[in-house]
């Protein structure tokens, strides 16, 4: 059974600092997703990682995937207040050879303070 563990669950950062969110998954998955959720809103897709060693960057966020370690990271560089949100990682399942549902981590609630 695929399980996803994310840590930390809460993260309070100062502006300008760097930090990393970790996402471990328990069994093989060929797709790893990162989403952002603002309060009262739906999920916004940030990254999709499909292969070992994949690295993607968008602004102050960089995501990477190590399929051998079953680990993905979301690195935040020089945090700003606008990055305050909850970040979810999710691993993809298969459904009869097609994309199946996602298994989500518990989320990391990020608060960036001046």
């Amino acid at each position: 059974e695929l399980k996803v563990e994310q840590n930390p669950l809460f993260l309070s950062m100062q502006e300008g600092k760097n930090y990393t969110i970790y996402c471990n998954y328990s069994t093989t998955s060929d797709r790893l997703y990162w989403y952002r959720q603002d309060p009262g809103k739906s999920l916004e897709s940030l990254f999709v990682l499909l292969s070992n060693g994949a690295v993607k960057q968008e602004g102050r966020l960089m995501a990477s995937l190590d399929t051998k370690a079953r680990l993905s990271t979301l690195h935040i560089t020089a945090a700003v207040h606008d990055l305050s949100a909850t970040y979810f990682c999710a691993a993809g399942t298969d459904y009869g050879g097609s994309q199946g549902n996602l298994i989500f981590g518990k989320g990391t609630k990020l608060s960036v303070k001046p």
């Binding site: 739906s42 993809g92 097609s98 994309q99 549902n101 989500f104």
Partner: protein, 114 residues
């Protein structure tokens, strides 16, 4: 990408009643998923809805409580039946786009049961 709309966006319902949530996608998709997000929690899959076949429910969710329809490749409904306060959650539909290896989420339906 896919544009997904959900109706209603929010509702307040009385215990014992039922609510049907609609999900409309702007393109034809094979796989549609319904998730529940309880307050302050992560997302949990309710069921996978394939066009032309019965929905597949996850452990803990049953068809009598959460009947799903999938009449065509762009539309699905989820009914929350005989509601209780424990059903107060955000309900989200999601679609998988094979060509993009992405999964997109609708804006969600925020349900409060009194």
């Amino acid at each position: 990408s896919a544009v997904i709309s959900q109706k209603p966006s929010r509702d307040i319902c009385q215990r014992g009643t039922s609510l049907t949530i609609q999900c409309q996608v702007d393109s034809q998709v094979t796989m549609m998923f319904w998730y529940r997000q309880q307050p302050g929690q992560s997302l949990t899959l309710i069921a996978t809805a394939n066009q032309g076949s019965e929905a597949t429910y996850e452990s803990g969710f049953v068809i009598d409580k959460f009947p799903i329809s999938r009449p065509n490749l762009t539309f699905s409904t989820l009914t929350v039946s005989n509601m209780s306060p424990e059903d107060s959650s955000i309900y989200l539909c999601s679609v998988a786009l094979f060509s993009y290896n992405e999964q997109f989420f609708g804006p969600g339906t925020r349900l409060t049961v009194l």
